[in-house]
Amino acid sequence: MIRAGNSPDSLLVIVPAYNEQGAIGGVVSAVHEHVPGVPVLVIDDCSGDDTIPNARQAGAEVLSLPHHLGLGGCVQAGYKLAYELGFQYVIRVDGDGQHDPRDIPRIFEKLKSSGCEMVIGSRFVGENGSRTGAVRSLGIRFFRLVLRPILGKPVHDPTSGFVGVNRRALDVFSRTFPLEYPEIETLVVLQRRRFRFEEVPCTMLPRTTGRSSITAVKSMYYMVHVLLGVFVNVLKFDRRRLRRPPGTGAGG
């Protein structure tokens, strides 16, 4: 069983995975190679293939969901367990092998040194040679524009799932977390609680196995869904702030 121990810097790497039997073993092994001694928790979203045995064989612990919850529910389950086990920091790495585990130490260092609640591994900070498709690139530009006034600072890679959080964010996310397409909405949730985020340059690798399920229709649905989620969160927190008596802090 994974343990946080008494270290103030205890780190857990979580890997949400759904039918990633081809990539999951490599991802877990690469994490162990680049951050030795750090426990890896694969959250299996009820895969129908050999994701679980492959993850275990590579040395990961597995949290196995009883039925398919989608990305947000899957990631939140990992955050909940990490919070219960007492971890101070959690870094999420996707199970498809697109996140380079060599960047984990950089995210971890930034989390510790900056004291901010979330660190995003960004393709667009610095020159790292990462490439994105035209549609995704357009979507990212659009959300940058939308988020800039809401967050009060620019975010270069709002759709990146390569993120690290500290225990304060873990506390919030274990209680409330967007269930579909969580990356962008979590930024708004954090900002509305006066939490801070930073970005560090990271490399995104091409998929090694499987195929992306993103289609044009799904992209449109994603845009509408995320936009709605962003504005609902903005309104929700602004209404709470208006109702709260002065001098009671940000809270949540």
């Binding site: 612990e61 196995s64 969901l65 009883p66 919850l69 939140q76 389950a77 909940k80 219960e84």
Partner: protein, 114 residues
């Protein structure tokens, strides 16, 4: 007009029967069948009570009775769909929280020290 009212009566009766049979076979829980029964009953009454329908039409300032029936039916079912969307959203949230809790408890059980 009478033909439309008769069709509405027929559809309301069919809906009532389907809902009652579904409740009897436990395909729908009783608490979720009430909305359907009320909606089907209301449509049945309106389609058989022409003076009531005319009164509603005058009250709403609508030009003709079929449009009134159509708007009333549409309105009732929109409210029901909204109500069920709220119920489904709550159920989904509860379901996700339960599934996560089950997974975490299973994890703790598997790693319980003797």
């Amino acid at each position: 007009m009478d033909h439309l009212l008769n069709v509405t009566t027929g559809l309301s009766i069919v809906l009532l029967i389907i809902v009652l049979v579904s409740v009897r076979r436990a395909h729908i829980r009783v608490e979720y069948s009430v909305s359907w029964l009320v909606a089907a009953g209301a449509m049945l009454v309106l389609s058989r009570a022409r003076p009531v329908l005319d009164a509603v039409r005058r009250l709403a300032g609508l030009p003709d009775t079929p449009l009134t029936l159509f708007l009333l039916g549409g309105g009732v079912f929109l409210i029901m769909f909204f109500r069920f969307s709220v119920i489904i959203s709550h159920l989904r949230d509860d379901n996700i929280a339960l599934a996560q809790r089950v997974a975490i408890l299973e994890y703790h059980l598997q790693h319980r020290e003797p």
